[in-house]
């Protein structure tokens, strides 16, 4: 299946480093907003609980943010070192977007981060709150630009090709390309959900250990409200996203659905489970609901969804991977919705903080947001293959001309260093979380 040529190795390295990277932003974006809300509530109500929670989460935020920054810088340089063909061809579009991200987001985050983390005693409360808000705003602006760039690679428009490179014509069209609104909202909500379950699981852990304080209850309560409201919203956005993809990247949808061919006038079934086989161009062990895919994607039970065999095989992505990562994402999304609904039920029965089965489920769902985010990205990005820019540039033309040895060595270095460093970082985060929020104000590092 894999012959490890240079392109494959460069792809694995990109996928590996960006997957590590996105774990941190997903939490940074959510936590920054959460911290801004906590501090705002504290300023408004003067309730000590909010200050306790702020002091607690800001430390975890600091570690996570640091890891996000250093893993992000690798991404920004990797476009040149490993994807020089892509950069030379499309840098005129992705470069300005990345530059805007640096100017409007990265500097804002970094500039106010110092005051947010170390300035409690140096500036007034209002100014400190302002700094927190600026960091949170920065993370959202960052999402805006990077997703504009990424969405453009899926649904490019607003350009001409002159002398074998992309020449931007209309920046409005480039930024607000067809898939951008869906991807921006879907990813932002994914970050909020990831953080909600991260926070919720921390609270559930404490409650299961018998550490039942008002601050910890507040944590769980806020997280579950978030899950209740936002998880269903995510499913709706995801549905719209899928409709958009059907219009612009029908092959990707066919792969996500494991849909090989249309027979006669038979409407397209929704496949719940199957083992797609690319050689035989069929599914094994498939469990399907007749007509449901037609209903979801066409909103009409009689219309067919385009099938893989209607497109040349050289334009197919890796079907099993796309098929399965999509199911992992949606499956976790459904679990999150259920957890949200259950929390509402328990709230009414007043057992939200004591139902151990529920608390165990929330603890288990702690990494669910992050896993779903990764699975979603794998669906999107693998589903675009073999194109790096849909319809414009093939991935194999994008890659730098490094040797296989060179790429294997650098991949190995990244794997070792990332697991080592970020593994330790996660341990420190877990250690802080296991201590739980404490009631006194500012404290010193030990």
């Amino acid at each position: 299946m894999f012959d490890f040529d240079a392109t494959v190795l460069a792809r694995i390295q990109f996928a590996f480093t960006v997957s590590f990277h996105i774990i941190f932003p997903a939490i940074t974006i959510g936590l920054a907003t959460y911290l801004a809300v906590l501090e705002g509530l504290w300023l408004k109500t003067n309730n000590q609980i909010y200050q306790q929670l702020y002091q607690f989460w800001v430390k975890i935020f600091a570690i996570n943010f640091g890891m996000g920054v250093v893993s992000g810088i690798v991404m920004a340089y990797q476009f040149g070192t490993h994807w020089s063909g892509f950069s030379a061809f499309a840098g005129s579009v992705t470069g300005p977007l990345l530059t805007y991200e640096v100017l409007t987001a990265f500097f804002l985050e970094a500039g106010f981060l110092g005051v947010m983390l170390f300035g409690q005693n140096k500036v007034g409360k209002k100014l400190h709150f302002f700094a927190t808000c600026m960091v949170a705003t920065g993370t959202v602006i960052s999402t805006f630009w990077i997703l504009a760039s990424n969405s453009w690679m899926h649904t490019p428009q607003g350009f001409e090709i002159i002398d074998n490179r992309v020449v931007p014509i209309d920046w409005w069209q480039i930024v607000f390309n067809p898939s951008f609104p869906y991807r921006l909202t879907h990813m932002t909500v994914a970050a909020f959900l990831s953080s909600a379950f991260f926070v919720g699981a921390s609270a559930a852990w404490q409650l299961l250990k018998g550490n039942d304080t008002p601050a910890i209850r507040k944590m769980l309560s806020m997280a579950m409200w978030m899950a209740l409201i936002v998880a269903p919203l995510q499913a709706v956005i995801g549905d719209f996203h899928g409709l958009n993809t059907l219009e612009y990247q029908p092959v990707k949808i066919a792969a996500m659905e494991g849909h090989w061919r249309n027979e006669g006038n038979e409407p397209t079934p929704l496949i719940l489970f199957a083992m797609p086989d690319m050689d035989k161009q069929t599914n094994h062990f498939s469990l399907e609901i007749p007509g449901l895919a037609s209903l979801i994607l066409k909103h009409d039970i009689t219309k067919q969804v385009p099938a893989l065999t209607e497109f040349p095989a050289e334009d197919w992505p890796n079907v099993p991977l796309v098929f399965w990562s999509f199911r992992v994402m949606v499956g976790l999304g459904v679990l999150m919705i259920l957890a949200g609904v259950w929390s509402l039920y328990l709230r009414r029965k007043q057992t939200l903080y004591s139902n151990r089965l529920f608390l165990r489920l929330v603890l288990l769902l702690g990494p669910a947001g992050l896993i779903a985010t990764l699975a979603g990205w794998f669906t999107t990005e693998l589903g675009r293959q073999p194109w790096v820019i849909q319809g414009l540039m093939r991935t194999q033309d994008a890659v730098s001309s490094h040797s296989v040895t060179h790429l294997s060595l650098s991949l190995m270095m990244f794997v070792i260093c990332y697991f080592g460093i970020f593994g330790v970082g996660y341990r420190y985060m877990m250690r802080l979380i296991s201590k739980g929020p404490v009631s006194q104000g500012i404290e010193h590092h030990g």
Binding site: I73, A76, T99
Partner: protein, 335 residues
């Protein structure tokens, strides 16, 4: 009026690089100085002087990379591909030292020495790799049409390694004079002593690099030693000498600010020599900045943002430094 957009962007990228060298220079320098300071509390003070600002400093590196991609995609593609190995080493080293800021304070007593070393070696290796990148860049990159045509190890030469060594001295001097400004007591006096030695070493290194550069690139020699140019460049070495002398004099006084400012001037002079050497190429020695420039529509779009936002960035960066102004002492560690 017609604007020469590629030229303006060349200027902005030089500015971003210079900002990076100056700002991240002193905080990398602090890691380079770790081997000379063994006291744990002193090390904490050193790290605390930059903890609130290091992230913003490093962002200038990202701006340099991103605007190179946007304004000169061809240069970004070719130069980065050619320099992949030293760049990857730099990135990994920056990861080690970047996380060490947080990890040093979150770790237990047994693992703290490990993160101290990560901070120290990370800073040293990242700096060395940056110097190698600079040196290899000046030496030139082989290009065939639109693609890099050299080999993975073209960057490795005695000249580039020497530049790596030189940049370490420069950053260490920036770090030492920064600490003179931010510290008190024995730490300050130690830094004053160290800075004097570093200043002399740096002076010699600048001299050697300046004599060596014309030999690695015949074009550069041509530019330096042709007549009207020689006349313009002549003041630069003189100013370098004067600066070093004033710096050493300032280090013998109790003055807090002057050593750091004079070091900045010294770095600025050294850097201008580099600019003169590569001008007007963005991929020395063959591809000019106009040949590698992105389409006007990209350059114009970026310029609007840059002109509006960079002043704002400078303003709040300055504010953040202002909030954390003054001396950092052991008991007032605000981490």
């Amino acid at each position: 009026m017609e604007f020469d957009l590629p030229l303006i962007w060349f200027g902005i990228i030089i500015f971003a690089t210079l900002m990076y060298i100056v700002m991240d220079g002193f905080d990398l320098g602090i890691g380079i100085l770790f081997p000379f300071i063994h006291d744990e509390d002193d090390r904490d003070v050193m790290v605390n002087t930059v903890a609130p600002v290091w992230d913003g400093n490093e962002t200038w590196l990202v701006l340099g990379g991103a605007s190179l991609l946007g304004a000169f995609p061809l240069a970004y593609a070719i130069v980065l591909e050619a320099l992949t190995i030293p760049l990857l080493i730099m990135l990994l080293a920056l990861i080690f030292r970047g996380v060490a800021f947080e990890f040093r304070f979150k770790s237990s007593a047994e693992t703290k020495p490990f993160w101290d070393k990560a901070f120290m070696f990370g800073s040293i290796i990242a700096t060395f790799a940056q110097g190698v990148v600079l040196g290899a860049f000046i030496s030139g990159v082989s290009v065939d049409g639109q693609r890099f045509s050299g080999s993975s190890f073209d960057w490795l030469s005695p000249f580039s390694l020497f530049c790596g060594f030189g940049l370490m001295l420069a950053y260490a001097l920036l770090g030492a004079t920064w600490l003179v400004k931010k510290c008190t007591g024995t730490l300050k006096t130690t830094m004053q002593q160290l800075a004097k030695v570093l200043a002399i070493c740096l002076l010699m290194t600048i001299g050697i690099v300046s004599l060596w550069t014309p030999f690695v690139q015949p074009n550069i020699a041509l530019r330096w030693f042709s007549l009207p140019n020689l006349f313009y460049f002549a003041p630069v070495p003189l100013l370098v000498l004067l600066c070093t002398k004033a710096l050493i004099r300032a280090l013998n006084t109790e003055d807090d600010y002057r050593p750091f400012l004079l070091t900045l001037a010294l770095i600025f002079l050294g850097f201008s020599g580099l600019g003169i050497s590569i001008w007007p190429h963005i991929i020395p020695p063959t591809i000019s900045l106009w040949q590698a420039a992105a389409p006007e529509s990209s350059l114009g779009f970026m310029l609007i943002g840059a002109l509006m936002i960079i002043p704002l960035i400078l303003a709040y960066t300055f504010w953040s430094y202002y909030v954390f102004r003054g001396k950092v002492t052991k008991d007032a560690g605000y981490h």
